[in-house]
Point group: C2
Chain length 437, copies 2
């Protein structure tokens, strides 16, 4: 056995995740020694209330209400932030870096908002900042993107990274439940919050995709670089057409990287039904990764939960300690290797679905198809469907599925469709994904 001396860690916060971390450390000393050549001790825990009864085996003298007892404790090498919130957590972490302590956090909102600043501070102090648990707690995805595939170049990351919306979309798609009812059901089951905005408008997913893209491609993507649209306007009609066409509706985060140019978006997407992500149902999350060497892989798991999150935190703690013992702190997840260059619309490609309400008159169809022809966008399929009785006022519903085209052409044809007289309304449009590459 190696003679590395024990490493001490401190916690900010002792809720369910914090308690889980302490229990994991306590119950896995032997495994930790196997991995690290040393044990791990908890030497300080910041709490709000010293007198609260806690279901965790911790020496009470290590509990404190004074952050300095953790952040400036010379015995502590690694600070584990599991308190949540933004400003206080941010200040504590910056102080920890100033005191040359490494930081592990599960705080997604903090990383998405202040990731660049925190990375900068970590880097200046040659410290590690790790946050596996901040994205899809139960999926060891960040580790997959770094350790496991250390020698690979990631080209594409596609993810279902929000359990609330995936639950709602599963209900809509599998059972034909309208959006409002599906949301209500999700709220009753505890899968959606009373104010579901951050979830259903795609913001939570966008935060996670910014983090994933930054790590997968080693380029400093932040939340503002992510194009976001949510699911609150989705109509069952499109789900029904999707079924006919072999598509499943999912809120998908897509991050692409080629020629050192990056694009990141979160949007409702029609996934071809045989794509592995199409079968990820209910509150589950999954991240699909396409690497130059490894090809397609996917990680699937629960999106959240305090035990998965604690496990992910512990993984990061182990990595930080390894890095410390190896003398390589301050690199991984920290310094982006590529400048950020956002991909221009003319270099972004996709297949698209349009649902149009079209005036039922001679030549209408020719007019529409010529709009696409002018831009060299070819059709994969066109459906013309009867409109429901109440709307049978001389309108037809037309579904257009294009072949792959650039995003600028898509935007142009969308504008043209909205301006041409025979089109009464562009009811909806979605990106289509899912060809196996």
């Amino acid at each position: 056995m190696s003679s590395n001396s024990n490493i001490s860690v401190g916690l900010l916060g002792l809720g369910t995740v914090g308690s889980g971390v302490i229990n994991l450390i306590e119950n896995h000393q032997e495994e930790l020694v196997h991995e690290l050549g040393c044990g791990v001790n908890v030497k300080g825990v910041l709490v709000r209330n010293l007198d609260k009864t806690r279901d965790v085996n911790i020496n009470p003298e290590y509990l404190t209400t004074n952050p300095e007892d953790v952040l400036n404790n010379p015995e502590i090498d690694v600070v584990i932030e599991v308190m949540g919130g933004i400003e206080e957590a941010r200040n504590h972490i910056l102080k920890a870096f100033a005191a040359k302590k490494h930081v592990v956090t599960a705080n997604k909102d903090l990383i998405a908002l202040h990731g660049a600043e925190l990375h900068q501070a970590a880097s200046e102090n040659k410290c590690d900042l790790l946050y596996e648990a901040s994205v899809a707690g139960g999926i060891p995805i960040l580790r997959g993107l770094s350790d496991g595939l250390v020698a690979d170049k990631i080209q594409k990351v596609m993810g279902i990274v929000n359990g609330t919306t995936n639950y709602i979309l599963t209900k809509m798609d599998d059972e034909g439940v309208p959006y409002d009812d599906a949301l209500k059901e999700a709220q009753e089951l505890g899968f959606a919050e009373a104010d579901p905005t951050a979830d259903v408008e795609g913001l939570d997913a966008a935060r996670k995709m910014a983090i994933l893209a930054r790590l997968a491609f080693s380029t400093p993507v932040d939340l503002n670089d992510v194009e976001v649209s949510g699911i609150s306007d989705l109509e069952l009609t499109d789900f029904q057409y999707g079924k006919k066409l072999g598509f499943t509706m999912k809120l998908i985060g897509i991050a692409n990287f080629d020629n050192n140019q990056v694009e990141v978006s979160v949007q409702p997407v029609f996934l071809k039904s045989d794509h592995p992500l199409a079968n990820v149902k209910n509150e589950y999350n999954a991240v699909y990764v396409n690497g130059e060497a490894v090809g397609e892989t996917m990680f699937y798991g629960p999106g959240a939960g305090s035990l998965p999150t604690a496990t992910a935190v512990m993984s990061d703690v182990v990595s930080v300690i390894k890095n410390k013992l190896l003398g390589v702190n301050g690199h991984r997840f920290t310094k982006p290797r590529f400048e950020k260059v956002l991909k221009k619309p003319e270099n972004r490609y996709g297949q698209f679905y349009f649902r149009l309400h079209v005036k039922d008159e001679v030549g209408a169809f020719t007019t529409i198809s010529s709009l696409f022809n002018q831009l060299n966008i070819s059709f994969e399929r066109i459906l013309q469907a009867p409109i429901k009785p109440e709307n049978r006022n001389e309108l037809a519903e037309v579904i257009v599925v294009t072949h792959e085209t650039s995003l600028d052409k898509f935007k142009k044809v969308l504008e043209d469709l909205q301006n041409v007289e025979v089109v009464e309304e562009v009811k909806s449009y979605f990106r289509i994904e899912g060809d196996v590459e």
Copy 2:
């Protein structure tokens, strides 16, 4: 940057995987330095023919036909075995350990056959023996079982770990192609070998499951502990009943560990169609892991291929070097922590499907159900179906789906069914899996 001095590795074999490893090392020096604090050099490659033209950038003076130049080269710390075969590879690896070199191998057959001996030799010499690439090359699963979930206790591993059989079963299930035709198609596409025995009889999957179980549970499972049955006798009739019942037929490796008792099997299983593994199609592989802390996760990816394999080999090389620098070689993947105790049939549980040909006479049904009742096995469903015209000689086809019962009761009722007079024949029986735990 740390001042660890460079680490040198040697290769046994320079086929597509070996060349891939050299290219990855060459093209990722910067990332390797970020991870390790040092670079990685190739200082010896055992080949059969020095004069062959090779598509790889290696100093010709490092190529050799003499194994000693790698195995006893004092500069080399890590030996990478990518030559394949059994006896020669085994002897080389044992020599490498004797010379205190760590070993990374992609050789599944070797590990399944001689894993115990090689682990023993590694352990005695305080060396690492890693073989991520030997199981499902494209899925970073062994890493998931160790690093990523370092602090978790794995309870169950279920895997589709053979691409050939998964391709055949997908054809049979999705398109109703009979076994022989599906096999032929797989052979034509290069997914099955001319002699497909090792794949279709489940041996290849059994080797991988033995390796996965050993790692997941840290107990010395070997190939002989795996109960194996293959897919060559499967009939489309059962696939059709499966569809009606909401099941998909898959060749599944199942490894369970509770109360420190292990069971491992490979067999055709009826998976409930909403289980994530049920949607893993064609030649893809996936491994589903249930951990105490993390809950359900799944890893999905290509089962093989030289680039994924080379990437997995590189992951292991990075781990070995980290362990060396940390002074913790000789532990991970090496010393099992639990004695092997195989689970007894009375402690093994499952749901089962039976297809019976039953004499169409008064009381037959009562006789059958009383066999189950006597053993306290309850029914989930019973179907009685018309038998096809050509067999309509007073026989009925009866499908029984049980609730969960122990394996010894299953075996007893199977024996009873085979011996009772009203049952003309037990046509087939399968384990059912897929309740989300």
